[in-house]
Symmetry: C2
Subunit: 365 residues, 2 copies
Amino acid sequence: MPSILVTRNVGPAAMAKLEASGFDLIVNPVDAEPTRAWVLENIANPDVISVCLMHGQGSDKVDEEFLNACNPNLKTVSTFSVGFDHIDVKGANARGIKIGHTPGVLSDSVADITTMLVLMTMRRVQEGIDLIKSGGPTAPLLTPCARSIPLANALQWPKLPWAPFVMCGPNIGHPNLTIGFLGFGRISEVVVDRLLAFTSKTAPPTILYNSSRARDNQAQLDADFSKRWGTTVRRAEVDEVAEKSDVVIVLCSLNPSTTDLVNAAFLKKMKKSAILVNAARGPIVNSEDLNAALDAGEIYGAGLDVITGEPHVAPDHPLVLNSRCVVIPHMGSADMDTRAAMGDLCVSNAIAGAKGEALVAEVKV
Amino acid sequence: MPSILVTRNVGPAAMAKLEASGFDLIVNPVDAEPTRAWVLENIANPDVISVCLMHGQGSDKVDEEFLNACNPNLKTVSTFSVGFDHIDVKGANARGIKIGHTPGVLSDSVADITTMLVLMTMRRVQEGIDLIKSGGPTAPLLTPCARSIPLANALQWPKLPWAPFVMCGPNIGHPNLTIGFLGFGRISEVVVDRLLAFTSKTAPPTILYNSSRARDNQAQLDADFSKRWGTTVRRAEVDEVAEKSDVVIVLCSLNPSTTDLVNAAFLKKMKKSAILVNAARGPIVNSEDLNAALDAGEIYGAGLDVITGEPHVAPDHPLVLNSRCVVIPHMGSADMDTRAAMGDLCVSNAIAGAKGEALVAEVKV
């Protein structure tokens, strides 16, 4: 009897859909990440023809070890994520295994968090929270008037000498901003939709984006984007995105060409008044270089939904301690509707794969 | 020689405009809040015909004491704020003193912070920050799957047992949300513009608002609002706003009728899944009642740009300690462009008043 292996309970509605599929289910009996050994043992079972794979913290790597352990009947691995940097897609495809993922359904949710991080970073919210919660920001205040303020050892809110520009940040509505994207897929497009509700109507921002390669129809594509959003939108090289942007937003996929893309050299090219937001994958931004750039005032601030090494990030991580950086624990797609939709798409891919049908959303590389 | 009294340096551009006005200036010599005695002494000077008053932490109260100390030639007091709860407007007007303030120029900036707080609160960002920074959230996690998680004493990010719905909050894009406003002036209108970039396009939110009194043309006004935003917008009583809203946004002015408007009774009427954002004035929301409602799970979360007693809010204030509440230090209008525009409007009011002309923006009560 053919089976679908489920590495983790994916929520009540998605589990019900799996149960109604007619396939046997082999479900991880505990509501926690399975051990790697449990995964490897079960994918060797010749009855398993499809895997519904929770994006976890190690047990989910589809690497040579995983692929060598797979039984020859396995048709599909369906990951509960849009990103697939934990999966050797070419290796899987070479063995006749299709990879499913969950694009589209999380674009709005990640775009919400990305837009929120842009606002939080421009408006210095982490400094504000630190001021209230724990004795003040960890770096000197940034605004002109504030530079002349003698910083007390414990600069708490009651002791903050208020002045017109104290705790002021740059304005998302400032005329003629430049907003730069590294990666310009579905999520970036939704972020543009969101940000244009905040930016200047009379002098709208220029949108620069870098994508992995220029398209043949690049000029037409950019003309279409510009028309759609009523402002200049065009592809640019990475250096130009760094140099010209007031807001740099990282939303590319993680691969060897994007690892450390935002490094010391990139950060030095950025404006001192510019901010950086990463809502993609941690290793695209070099943490040490970012922290040094923030401390040196090379950029104004940073907002991170993701960080290298997550979730193994200690409270004394330099970027966590730095008031010019807000770090949140990879909550990009963490709303209840979105996770339910991801669960639905994940099991739909697994069921379609088990039936030998085309996946609803297959990773193509 | 007629003089303008300037209680605080209002920034370089605004100070230059004052200097170019032709009036003598009496400027607080230190870049800090003046003493009350300094203010009272200087407004008694018969040369002072206009006051440019920085919104401060006590020295700026225009009360009976202030009005009794004013010289008889004083024509205008111009506050560097849109709110005027620190000013006895009727008392001032009765003595022939006009009050200027700074409406309009800060609407976008406050709307940005308000929208950001809606997103932060729905998406549980304070819990996320606490998880990373200081050993975990201070209240049990809220989402269904999370309830079954045994909470470690130190629930830091590395120890968080990830599951599909852990740290998930409600979705701003959920179909048919109800968004309720207490106060529906300029800032609220801009907040609606912003939020509609995030909410469902196919099932847009209903907007309910309470304003101090129904207008004669209320039906037409609501029809115009509904047409403008392409969804149902209507005035509602306070109780209906509390009962039906998924998001309650406080943006009314502070006065005796709005003090403690959001109290235990209001909070009990709210949905357990609803959030509250206050970007107006602290005392409109009762802090003790809010903290009790959060701890009892009567509402889902709160985001506060303002809080009763500010800035005298200690790090161990119950709402500051509560992970279900994000508190930021009254940063609503704190972007550099906006504060410069407020400075310009503040000095323009002061100069117009000194000249005996109509103020650019006069408080009318």
